[in-house]
Symmetry: C2
Subunit: 187 residues, 2 copies
């Protein structure tokens, strides 16, 4: 008996509605206690967020145009794992830091992984902190829309995460995780 059956959930049928390079949208028909329901959900290959930290203790933020929102957001470098091609999570994190922020080098520390929007998505987000990166020129991808690279003391970035000036939820969470990890490392 799988876990779903323990809760009285049993898949009756599945349709694959949409496929892209990044996602697959499924529509499942599911028997649940007291009836049936249609569950539309999205499978995603996962993503990586990385907080680049300079030797002086400042965080590197990017200002990214988001087509979905018609807004610019302060974010940390991040990328999806759809074109992973056998690369490790760390290699993807380093590539995104370089492309989006021009940050390279440093020691990567894992801050763990979490599910994102788990009622709708099967999307695992991996978080990293990069201690002691250096800033150089960016290597932007086609269609990448980063207008600004900003360095900010970690405590100030954490204040921006808490008050919503960093409006991207995963970036704000990444910075709070990084703040805790740094407090542990340098008490």
């Amino acid at each position: 008996m799988n876990l779903g059956e323990k809760f009285g959930w049993r898949r009756l049928s599945r349709q694959l509605l949409v496929v892209t390079r990044w996602i697959r949208v499924f529509r499942d028909r599911v028997a649940v206690p007291g009836g049936e329901l249609t569950y539309t959900w999205i499978d995603h290959p996962g993503s990586v967020f990385v907080v680049p930290l300079l030797r002086n203790g400042s965080v590197v933020l990017i200002r990214s145009y988001r087509y979905t929102l018609e807004e610019e957001c302060w974010e940390v470098p991040a990328g999806a794992l759809h074109d992973r091609n056998g690369r490790s999570l760390e290699e993807v994190a380093r590539a995104e830091m370089l492309e989006e922020a021009g940050a390279s080098g440093g020691d990567l520390q894992s801050l763990g992984h979490y599910w994102c929007a788990n009622g709708l998505l099967r999307l695992k987000t991996h978080y990293f902190l990069a201690h002691g990166v250096e800033l150089g020129p960016r290597a932007p991808e086609n269609g990448e829309s980063v207008s600004t690279v900003l360095t900010l003391p970690l405590a100030e970035a954490a204040a921006w995460a808490r008050d919503g000036r960093i409006s991207d939820g995963e970036s704000a969470f990444a910075i709070l995780l990084a703040e805790s990890a740094c407090a542990k490392r340098m008490p």
Copy 2:
């Protein structure tokens, strides 16, 4: 000129691929600097997360079966805004606390709002902290799959958020925001 045009992004066409009670999946054709791309993205009515805090300083967590993951996750009460029917965010937060955790009463404090998975979703998540709730019987919705209600001191819940035992990213983030808000309120 809208913000997209400032970055050289211009929508050429749009298809509505999928509609459910919760989401709309769009496929847009977009002109970007150096070419064109297809952008598939999802519009969502938003969601509310609420951290219920008892008078003794413990947080109320729920263990929720997630069909998307075939896993149970520790979470805080949350719900989508698709059936809002004119209710305020606070009313939705209170309804979810009662349904999922049997928590009622208390003073709601906003912890702000953030975008979730902003490369794929247009989904605004609203966060609340409920100070001084009381626990009673739950009022579960059809298809709701909460197996356990657990109370945990806030500091311990924050440790679970940081080490990934709370594997739901938005719940973990909500608890870190709640911890900061409580530290500010009771220094």
